[in-house]
């Protein structure tokens, strides 16, 4: 393309939406936007247009620090064989939701 101002200049943003009060924000996807204010508006249009949310966070995707697939074994495997770390030894009352 001859026009330099194409989508390649628009950074990627990760979008987190909180469905209702009391819940935490959940990652719902990503989008392109020229800046944070427009990213929020685009997120509103793309991810909450059917009343999915009461709050939106947008985070520059470049700022997300991710674990490396190469470190998968040392990061995650040690947790797998220690049953005493899992909350499986007590009953969850019916009244407790979203746990």
């Amino acid at each position: 393309m001859s026009n330099p101002n194409t989508e390649r200049d628009w950074p990627l943003w990760e979008v987190f939406v909180r469905a209702k009060r009391g819940l935490s924000h959940q990652h719902v996807g990503s989008l392109h936007a020229p800046d944070a204010a427009m990213a929020l508006r685009n997120a509103r249009d793309i991810y909450t247009r059917r009343s999915e949310g009461v709050s939106i966070w947008v985070v520059p995707a470049a700022e997300v620090v991710a674990s490396s697939p190469d470190e998968k074994d040392s990061f995650f495997d040690p947790a797998a064989d220690k049953a005493y770390r899992h909350p499986t030894f007590y009953e969850i009352p019916d009244e407790v939701q979203h746990l």
Binding site: N5, P34, R41, N42, D45, I46
Partner: protein, 249 residues
């Protein structure tokens, strides 16, 4: 048509025709995200248009439905402002049109929320939140394009020049509107001008854009006089319904 039916039809036609124009951006906007944003705004307007056309048909009492009014009227029977039918051209022109019309529509609906006509008041109360967002969307883009690169500023200024001849028509109050306003049903658009000026001037100043001084002004939309592109819009909007009479989803 009764004055009330005509009034509802005017507001409804504005919303319907602008919704159609915004729909033309889908798959053509600069970004996928902008396709969705403009499509959303168009759908908000379509919702307003449906309610108002339905109401116009009820008040008229001749059995015409929203579809009859949207798809079976001729070009000269539409009473929308000419500004909403103006072609999209480029993104700058579209955003200039959005700024001009959404600022006008927001000022009007904010007053129509208190209309003595319950249906008009109800539509306005629902729409005012939608249009507040439409105005914000346009404002954000005018600021970014105006105060952006040399090219974006040039094109945003060009957009303003293209749309400004159609601004004056928005604020013309005729006898029908005055009579309904005296009953508390309608709002006299002439009185909305100061609020519109204040908002738009502030946005243009912050965007480092110049307010155009058009050498001519459009007129006649409310009496069915439209610009040369309107017939094509109507043809595209109506052809499916006219080709398959009575078809439904």
């Amino acid at each position: 048509m009764t004055p009330l039916a005509t009034y509802a039809l005017r507001l409804g036609d504005d919303a319907l025709i602008l919704a159609h124009r915004l729909g033309e951006w889908i798959a053509n906007a600069p970004q996928l995200e902008e396709d969705v944003a403009l499509g959303n705004i168009g759908l908000d307007l379509l919702g307003q248009g449906r309610l108002l056309l339905t109401y116009a048909g009820e008040v008229e009492g001749a059995g015409r439905s929203e579809d009859d009014l949207a798809f079976l009227r001729g070009e000269r029977d539409f009473v929308n402002l000419q500004v909403v039918e103006r072609p999209n051209e480029d993104f700058g022109v579209t955003i200039a049109r959005q700024l001009a019309f959404s600022t006008y529509q927001l000022a009007m609906y904010a007053r129509l929320e208190h209309s003595t006509d319950a249906t008009i008041a109800g539509v306005a109360a629902k729409a005012v939140k939608e249009v507040d967002y439409h105005r914000d969307h346009a404002t954000q883009w005018v600021l970014r394009l105006g105060d952006g690169t040399d090219e974006s500023r040039r094109r945003m200024q060009h957009g303003l020049e293209r749309i400004w001849p159609y601004v004056e028509e928005m604020f013309v109050t005729d006898d029908l509107e005055s009579a309904l306003a005296a009953d508390g049903v309608a709002v006299e658009v002439a009185g909305l001008r100061p609020e519109w000026d204040t908002y738009v001037d502030a946005v243009l100043a912050e965007a480092t854009l110049e307010r155009p001084t058009p050498s001519w002004t459009a007129e006649g939309g409310r009496s069915g006089v439209h610009t040369e592109t309107f017939g094509y819009l109507i043809a595209e909007m109506q052809h499916l319904h006219r080709s398959h009479p009575g078809a439904s989803w």
